[in-house]
């Protein structure tokens, strides 16, 4: 047996980037936006598409320009800046020196709610701002682009090369930005208190 270690190196190709930003004034944002979310929820019916297997309250289809509302202006400005940081980091050319939020909507996860695996068509970037996430809230999961290959080898332990999905515990005030073609979902929400996220898509 020859130890090939000294003769071996690895290329690490095609990483899928997820930018995680910690918004420092998230408590103030939460204090200001929870009443706004409640108001929207009381006046906007659930627009969950029929093809979704999951159950949750969403304004994705019928009230999806929250970034244009004054109450959301501060958070929208933070999101816009973080979108630019993300775009520049991954090497995207910004012809207008800007990234534009296309849609922003509310998802509310009550007990036993989840979301199916999905991508966000017709946009370049997507993101999630965790407005409210009590301990034990449903995790946000990203699926590997290779996870649909039809041969899945059992592994002794997960590592950076063999993981087929990565799950994040939602933390209030965290802003996650990623490419819109990156498949993601929310696990089942199993606690009584609700998880509330503000989701958005963006273009250049």
């Amino acid at each position: 047996m020859i130890d090939l270690t000294p003769h071996t190196k690895y290329l690490e190709l095609f990483p899928c980037p997820v930018q995680i930003s910690n918004v420092p004034d998230h408590n103030d944002i939460k204090k200001n936006l929870l009443p706004a979310v409640d108001l929207i929820r009381s006046s906007t019916p659930n627009s969950r598409p029929n093809e979704w297997a999951c159950s949750l309250y969403t304004t994705m289809e019928n009230n999806n320009e929250l970034h244009m509302l004054p109450e959301f202006a501060h958070l929208s400005q933070i999101i816009a800046c973080e979108l630019i940081e993300f775009a520049k980091y991954i090497g995207v050319y910004l012809p207008n020196d800007n990234v534009f939020i296309k849609n922003m909507w509310i998802n509310v996860f009550e007990k036993n709610c989840s979301t199916d695996v999905h991508v966000n068509p017709n946009s370049l970037f997507s993101g999630i701002y965790i407005l409210k996430a009590p301990k034990g809230s449903a995790k946000i999961v990203f699926d590997s682009p290779s996870s649909e290959k039809m041969i899945s080898v059992p592994v002794l332990e997960d590592n950076q090369y063999n993981m087929e999905n990565v799950a994040y515990n939602p933390i209030e005030g965290q802003l996650m930005i990623f490419n819109s073609n990156f498949r993601h979902r929310d696990n089942l929400h199993t606690i009584d208190q609700s998880k509330i996220t503000l989701n958005f898509t963006a273009v250049i």
Binding site: L11, N22, H67, M68, Q77, F86, K88, G91
Partner: protein
């Protein structure tokens, strides 16, 4: 302040700490054979013999005109003259399997197919992967300067919306290349699509490819 397309370069109202996590990196294992010159020299004579006795087994579906034994002589790993070579391939496969945390001890890792590809000037190989296998590899017996690179294609290469790029980064590449040297052993997941650029060199580019399973 509502965001509209007229708002250029918004200034962040707060100082933000951020990290970017790299998920699902695709590993390509590159190993230079410790005795590469000797190993390549010993293989060339045997490969010449194989070429003499085996007609081109190029499948009709291949657009390229490469000489290959993929369909009519793909058990090269069983030839006595290739014993040292096959042992080296198995070392490489075991190393890749360890890196991937595959349960090698309980399974019979084995090469199931091994064939030669010979690229003359102007020849190439279209994009493909290797169904029904776990690991695939290529060993380069001859790789003259400026011969074709091997290209790897991202699992997301077919995405229909792509932004314009300011610069190439690992995050926006959908194709990555490697310029092989004689004695290089390259191993990767069989599902990863790959291709070979046109051989721009006047010299032959000779590679021995193989598939493995458990």
């Amino acid at each position: 302040m509502p965001l509209t397309p007229n708002n250029r370069e918004p200034a962040s109202p707060v100082k933000i700490e951020r990290v970017v996590e790299d998920l699902f990196k695709v590993p390509i294992q590159l190993t230079r054979a410790p005795n590469s010159n000797k190993l390549c020299d010993s293989m060339i004579q045997e490969l010449d013999q194989i070429r003499t006795e085996t007609p081109n087994g190029k499948p009709n579906s291949w657009a390229c005109d490469v000489y290959t034994t993929i369909s009519n002589n793909c058990n090269l790993h069983e030839r006595p003259a290739f014993r040292e070579f096959t042992d080296f391939l198995m070392e490489g496969l075991n190393k890749f399997g360890e890196t991937m945390a595959y349960p090698l001890a309980e399974n019979n890792l084995r090469i199931t197919q091994c064939w030669v590809n010979i690229y003359q000037h102007g020849m190439s190989q279209e994009i493909h992967n290797h169904a029904n296998h776990i690991m695939t590899g290529v060993y380069y017996v001859k790789a003259p300067p400026n011969c074709s690179k091997i290209l790897f294609h991202s699992y997301q290469a077919d995405t229909m919306i792509r932004p314009p790029l300011e610069r190439d980064t690992p995050y926006n590449n959908v194709v990555a290349s490697y310029s092989p040297q004689p004695g290089d052993l390259v191993i990767f997941d069989s599902s990863l699509r790959h291709s070979v650029q046109v051989n721009a060199s006047e010299g032959e580019r000779i590679s021995v490819s193989f598939n493995a399973t458990m």
